[in-house]
Symmetry: C2
Subunit: 188 residues, 2 copies
């Protein structure tokens, strides 16, 4: 089977648990999956990034090195630098046009919508960003842990990225695999 390739974005200001939750779930899937699954922490360059609360992480690859991914995760955190980065937003649009399943955690939904990926779609986001996302014309589901709109999946704040990632494993692999990962991380 073809390798299933996943990219998780990092940048100076990314919220630690926003990326670490999906990273844990998706790499646990990768470890157990029959189909080869790879998870790459990707950033502007491979220089260390300083996360929102100070954790320093080394990206695995730059966007130039990444190549095609089947699934992309845009965590949240201090997203203003991404919202003002035309090259980054252009990359998101190109990935979506190329068939990548686009996902966000927390206020990462603001970044997806900057690339117009949530036009006409419902979305979840952190409660602190409900109003801002609605002002961008998106229908916000204030109850959902995650919202699956086909080629775009969004989650509520921070820890909800874990729930979304477990859903993605169920959708892309099986309910059994998702339950196995959930049990592994003891997320009851």
């Amino acid at each position: 089977m073809d390798e299933f390739r996943i990219g998780i974005a990092l940048w100076d200001g990314v919220e630690e648990l926003d990326f670490a939750g999906p990273y844990e779930v998706l790499t646990a899937w990768a470890r157990g999956s029959e189909r080869p699954v790879t998870v790459t922490a990707v950033a502007r360059s491979t220089e260390p990034v300083t996360c929102s609360h100070g954790l320093r992480v080394i990206p695995d690859a730059s966007f130039e090195e990444l190549g095609h991914v089947d699934l992309f995760v845009n965590p949240g955190g201090r997203v203003d630098p991404l919202l003002g980065d035309d090259a980054y937003i252009g990359r998101l649009r190109a990935m979506a046009d190329g068939g990548t399943l686009m996902t966000s955690v927390c206020n990462g939904a603001l970044v997806l919508q900057k690339a117009n990926l949530l036009d006409g779609r419902r979305a979840a986001t952190h409660w602190g960003s409900y109003d801002r996302l609605e002002e961008l014309g998106v229908t916000v589901d204030r109850e959902a842990r995650w919202v699956d709109e086909g080629m775009v999946v969004t989650s509520a704040g921070v820890s909800a990225g874990i729930d979304m990632a477990l859903h993605l494993v169920a959708r892309l692999d099986s309910e059994e695999m998702s339950a196995k990962v959930r049990r592994y991380i003891q997320y009851d």
Copy 2:
């Protein structure tokens, strides 16, 4: 008020969510706390560590640089290198003797017990380590997300470190602060 100092251990093989969950919760507390709270990711040296699933993280300080901490978090993951590291185990014992509140996530409880910190105490751990911890003479609580035994607090597997950290915030600060952090990370 005196600074409240927290150390979270990293090493090659630490499980990503085991440390990132408490890191997120405790740094969110630090951001909102009236009393100064610092969180330091500490390792043998400040060279990057490669976590269990491949994430590379840069420690903030070596153990030599750390100084006294009020709270120490020993995550789980591939713990065998720690279990065989007499200097590391000696450090845990010295911290406990010095009044540090000692905590573990997941199979990190095995490491605490290597320093005999769980003698005569109940503990939580990952379900995959119930038998091994019991063989070391510890009474394992198989139902609890976390077990608070005063100067030693342990949690169940991986994501349960989030629950334990929220409990620690409630105990060390207030229920209100813990609820605030829980709401911030949308951990419902």
